[in-house]
């Protein structure tokens, strides 16, 4: 097996396991509590509005928005790691059909593997400090790298058909 295929397969399986471990941990220890917190904040906001306490009601909406910000990104981490891992494994199986030199293919495989790990990591790091620039930069870089890698693969598949 070529080193590029090996990298994609090992990277894909590792990422799938990591994504599932995170999903299991999240489902067991965080998801129900997070959903309860979100629902609780929103219900509290409307109850406070019923009592004509508008400022605390606004604060409760802000608390809801903050919890939801984290929730969306936590679910995104799980789904993107697993989705990208599947892509890496499929590409690992199909990589012989990419018409580039082995050195070029190894670079593309490395770019795809690193990007697939870093992009969702940047997304989850946004929850540590909302609006943190370093986390957004990491997520943008990671996704750009994966997209560029995939475009190169599509080009390679196209070349093999010629």
């Amino acid at each position: 097996m070529s080193p590029s295929r090996m990298l994609l397969l090992v990277g894909g399986l590792s990422l799938a396991t990591l994504g599932m471990l995170y999903g299991l941990h999240y489902a067991l220890f965080a998801e129900h509590q997070t959903l309860d917190r979100m629902g609780g904040s929103l219900a509290q906001a409307f109850s406070q509005a019923a009592g004509r306490n508008l400022q605390p009601a606004y604060n409760s909406v802000d608390a809801y928005a903050s919890t939801k910000f984290d929730y969306v990104r936590q679910v995104d981490l799980h789904s993107h790691w697993i989705g990208l891992s599947m892509l890496l494994i499929v590409l690992g199986a199909a990589f012989d059909g990419v018409a580039f030199s082995e050195r070029g293919k190894l670079w593309i495989a490395a770019v795809l593997t690193v990007g697939s790990f870093v992009f969702p990591l940047g997304v989850i790091l946004q929850t540590l400090s909302h609006g943190a620039a370093y986390a957004s930069v990491l997520a943008i870089l990671g996704s750009a790298v994966v997209t560029a890698g995939l475009a190169a693969v599509a080009w390679g598949f196209g070349r093999s058909g010629q």
Partner: protein, 370 residues
């Protein structure tokens, strides 16, 4: 004459090699059957959900939010709490059904992926078969557990927030992970030089393989680009807008504003978010499916013409669904109906391919091919 004879002999050699990779009761056969069946069932569930539950659930949630705002205006916080209990139930109903669809389909994808990498997994055949069986069982039990969460709730549960259905889903998820870890161990042994005892699929550069591989890659690329656009342009704007609308709703509830208008804006925002995320995820999922199915084509025992028809049907449905899901914001239910037809096309093509694979397995066992 000699060339024709050579071609026939070469075809027989390829068929024999192909038959070797699809032995009766082998891990690969189980994973291919189980994988396609899980994907088709997961998609059928998604289509049924989209037609019979999704919009009705959205309407009911919108009505409940309106009731909560009206209860707040009336100063009745007990009614507010009761309405939010109802909203939580509606959201759980919606969320668990989406998760059932996603997890069943994704478990099917993973099963097909594992079928692909079997030649690189250096484990005894018996253990591979056991792992394949456990994976398919886990892939079925996980979504079933998720589906039941809404209906079983916390009945007879010894835990504070986790019910028995969640326990079933989490256990099935853990089982899937254990199988993946075992497969990774087999892969690691293979990389260290151990034999897998299984031959790789013969090199295939047919039209079917190339159409599905390139079509799938393009769909995934489109999905990535659209996802990047959504994250850059819409995600933060949507998050800020949701808070703004909710605060507007509270203002209206405590003053003389129009609550219905705020609730309508809230529903419109929720619909916009849902269709954009659905378009992104379905483009990528269908792209991945097309790529996976490209490897299964040698096992689809149908005439070349029908194989190509089903591939074209699958790719057409894969484009129609996400495009018309997006157009739902402009064209309403008409676009929703066309999107559902797109999903149905994918399911029909997938089922036809599953029939082809079953025919191949049956013919192989009966000694008709191979």
């Amino acid at each position: 004459m000699a060339a024709a004879l050579q071609a026939v002999m070469s075809t027989h050699a390829v068929s024999a090699r192909l038959a070797e990779t699809f032995a009766p009761m082998s891990a690969r056969r189980l994973l291919v059957f189980g994988g396609i069946a899980l994907v088709a069932t997961g998609m059928l569930f998604g289509d049924i959900f989209a037609v019979f539950v999704l919009h009705q659930n959205g309407d009911a949630t919108g009505q409940a939010v309106l009731s909560a705002a009206e209860a707040a205006r009336a100063g009745n916080s007990t009614a507010v709490q009761a309405t939010f209990q109802r909203i939580a139930g509606l959201l759980e109903d919606h969320g668990t059904k989406v998760d059932t669809h996603v997890h069943m389909t994704d478990a099917g994808y993973l099963a097909l992926l594992l079928a692909l990498i079997q030649p690189c997994v250096a484990l005894p055949q018996k253990r591979k078969k056991l792992l394949a069986g456990l994976f398919v069982a886990g892939g079925l039990l996980l979504p079933v557990g998720i589906f039941l969460i809404h209906y079983v709730g916390l009945a007879y549960s010894p835990f504070a927030v986790i019910g028995w259905a969640s326990v079933l889903a989490d256990s099935a998820g853990a089982l899937l992970m254990l199988v993946l870890i075992a497969e990774a161990y087999g892969l690691w042994k293979f990389l260290r030089g151990a034999e897998s005892g299984e031959s790789e699929l013969p090199d295939d550069r047919t039209w079917e393989r190339r159409a599905l591989l390139s079509g799938g890659t393009l769909l995934i690329l489109l999905g990535f680009l659209y996802g990047a656009w959504y994250a850059g342009v819409d995600l933060y704007r949507h998050e800020a807008r949701e808070s703004q609308i909710l605060k507007g709703m509270l203002d209206a509830a405590t003053g003389a504003g129009d609550i219905s208008a705020q609730v309508a804006q809230y529903r419109s925002l929720a619909a916009e978010k849902a269709v954009k995320i659905a378009a992104h995820s379905h483009l990528i999922e269908f792209g991945l499916l097309a790529m996976l199915l490209s490897f299964v084509q040698p096992y689809v025992f149908l005439s070349k013409r029908w194989k190509r028809r089903w591939i074209v049907t699958l790719l057409m449905g894969s484009v129609i669904l996400p495009v018309f899901v997006l157009l739902e914001m402009n064209l309403g239910l008409l676009a929703g109906g066309i999107a559902d037809v797109g999903g149905l096309l994918v399911i029909i093509a997938l089922t036809a391919m599953l029939v082809g694979v079953l025919r191949y397995g049956g013919s192989l066992d009966a000694g008709v091919v191979g």
